[in-house]
């Protein structure tokens, strides 16, 4: 199988997975989901590191390091901010669970 077709197949399958996997999201989770997906594309950090690791000139290296910094802001910041949002939600959930067995609260 020719190389570009392998990649095309990956692309098509991954696109189906991406769409199907979130198709049942409840509207309350739209913002955290957006934020989580945003963190995932921070994996461009891998690409930035690869480019930085093979830089030939100082100019290239500096640009590549800028990309590394930006990508890690995206990745790390993204996951942390998503987690912060979701803590809010799970606080609420714990409250519900508590409410369902009130005997534990007293």
């Amino acid at each position: 199988m020719s190389e570009p077709l392998v990649w095309l197949t990956f692309f098509v399958l991954a696109a189906f997975v991406g769409v199907e996997v979130i198709s049942k999201v409840s509207s309350i989770l739209h913002t955290p989901l957006m934020s989580g997906a945003n963190a995932i594309h921070g994996v461009i950090l891998v690409g930035a590191m690869l480019v930085a690791g093979t830089a030939d000139s100082t100019g290239e290296l500096i640009m590549a390091l800028v990309a590394v910094v930006l990508a890690s802001i995206n990745m790390v910041g993204g996951f942390v901010v998503t987690d912060r949002m979701l803590i809010m939600f799970s606080h609420r959930r714990r409250a519900v669970e508590g409410a369902k067995r009130p005997e534990l609260e007293r």
Binding site: V19, I22, I28, G36, N38, V69, I73, M75, G78, R93
Partner: protein
């Protein structure tokens, strides 16, 4: 050649990302999902470092540390209600990183054995262009949401022409790059992309910005996928495609929940139909009241329903509101919050806001659950909400919100509106409910009014 163990590790990371997205789409598993995603990212980073022989490893690790620190600090400092613009910023820098990676690869491509293939060049051009669109667009969304610039849609006479020229320039640069790649042309393309990104976001009204952020997020996903092809890295391709596809669907879902199309979000302002709508104020009489009178109504009600909206977030009155509700609960009144899915300016806005004020979850009722209760409510307190209780959604076929499900506050015995003026809400249309005989208005900033109400209710 990437060693087999590293390829397996990349595949594992990709699976983590899939599981993460799946987890994030259900409340019960959302937090775990996000952590699994972070684990996948960690696996990916460790793998790339361990499987490649990097020349400037220390510098690279230092750069990662700097970025991680900056990201973490930003993520911890941001206030809950500023999350959307933070996400936008993170997304933008990701797009910028992808564009830089592609730019650097472009300068290398012709040297590589068998490199410079046409598909590679197209992928590079795509990444540079869309990455810069994403970066510039995200910066504008940030400025808008932080109110560092006007949140109103900005258009100007030559807009469509400029936009068309920008697109033409992009295509032109792209073609030339494919024919004779050079880093200079790449920089030119990036500049064009930045211009297009700015143009894309300018005409979007402040409240539609979340939809655009989601769209730019999907864009960045696609650039990451393209740079995966460029670097022959499956993980980047798969992860980028996942986000690109999921982000696109999410954009549609978000637009849907607000009852508008993505197209009208982006370009509605150009067709004159300003997405903020008109702000004409009619002069019909309304009944307004004082905090003291409203407090009496509240204090002697058996059943009260609170309808929070965007104004509550603006006034940051959530804590005072909770105190008021606590006092009413102590008096034996049955009080619930009715949460409309698109109240506020981002999905889940009210949930996040009220969670911040530590309102117990049981008091937050989703629309479908609480709506039948309005009939039995003695008083409905509408705090900074407007569109979500506007009967025009059911009665006026032409209205921008027509067809959106609403909370039937109009069925209650008494409705008290807290707002500052007679100005309409986000959709820019008048709310007949304000003129109903059962409605009284309590003018003023929600936080002020709420404190007065609280004092008065305590005094009853």
């Amino acid at each position: 050649m990437i060693p087999v163990w590293a390829q397996l590790a990349y595949l594992l990371a990709a699976v983590c990302f899939i599981v993460a997205l799946k987890g994030l789409s259900s409340p019960r598993t959302a937090r775990r999902g996000n952590l699994i995603g972070a684990a996948g990212a960690l696996i990916a980073c460790v793998t790339v470092v361990a499987s490649s022989e990097f020349d400037h490893l220390l510098a690279i690790l230092a750069a990662v540390a700097v970025g991680a620190a900056a990201g973490t600090i930003g993520a911890y400092r941001v206030q809950m209600t500023q999350m959307p613009q933070m996400v936008a910023l993170f997304n933008g820098v990701g797009g910028g990183a992808a564009a830089i990676v592609a730019l650097l690869e472009l300068s290398k491509l012709p040297d590589q054995p068998g490199g410079g293939g046409i598909v590679e060049l197209i992928a590079a051009a795509f990444t540079i262009l869309v990455g810069s669109v994403s970066l510039a667009g995200s910066i504008i969304t940030f400025l808008k949401l932080q109110e560092l610039m006007t949140t109103r849609p900005i258009t100007f006479g030559g807009y469509p022409i400029l936009y068309g020229l920008g697109l033409l320039a992009a295509v032109g640069f792209g073609v030339v790059i494919v024919l004779s790649p050079s880093i200079l042309l790449g920089v030119g393309l990036a500049a064009v992309g930045a211009g297009l990104g700015v143009l894309l976001v300018l005409p979007v009204g402040g409240a539609d910005v979340p939809i655009v952020i989601s769209l730019l997020n999907a864009f960045t996903g696609l650039t990451v996928a393209a740079s995966g092809y460029l670097l022959q890295n499956t993980l980047l391709l798969v992860a980028g495609t996942l986000v690109g596809a999921a982000g696109t669907l999410l954009t549609l879902l978000m637009a849907n929940a607000m009852g508008r199309s993505v197209f009208s979000t982006l370009f509605g302002a150009l067709r004159g139909a300003s997405s903020l709508g008109s702000t004409t104020v009619s002069n019909r009489p309304v009944r307004s009241t004082t905090p003291a009178d409203a407090a009496i109504l509240l204090a002697y009600a058996d059943r009260v329903i609170i309808v929070p909206g965007y104004g509550l977030a603006v006034a940051q009155a959530q804590h005072t509101l909770r105190q008021l509700v606590d006092v009413l609960l102590d008096r034996g009144t049955k009080v619930d919050y009715a949460i409309h899915p698109v109240a506020g300016r981002m999905p889940g806005h009210m949930n996040v806001l009220l969670a911040e004020a530590q309102v117990p979850y049981e008091q937050l009722k989703e629309m479908d659950e609480i709506d039948p209760d309005f009939k039995q409510a003695d008083v409905v307190l509408v705090v900074g909400a407007n569109d979500v209780v506007n009967p025009a959604a059911e009665t006026t076929p032409g209205a921008p919100i027509y067809g959106m499900p609403i909370l039937h506050a109009n069925q209650a015995r008494q409705v008290i509106f807290l707002k500052r003026s007679m100005r309409p809400g986000f959709a820019g249309i008048e709310n007949e409910l304000l003129y109903e005989p059962t409605t009284t208005l309590l003018f003023g900033d929600a936080k002020d009014t709420m404190s007065k109400l609280l004092t008065e209710v305590k005094a009853v």
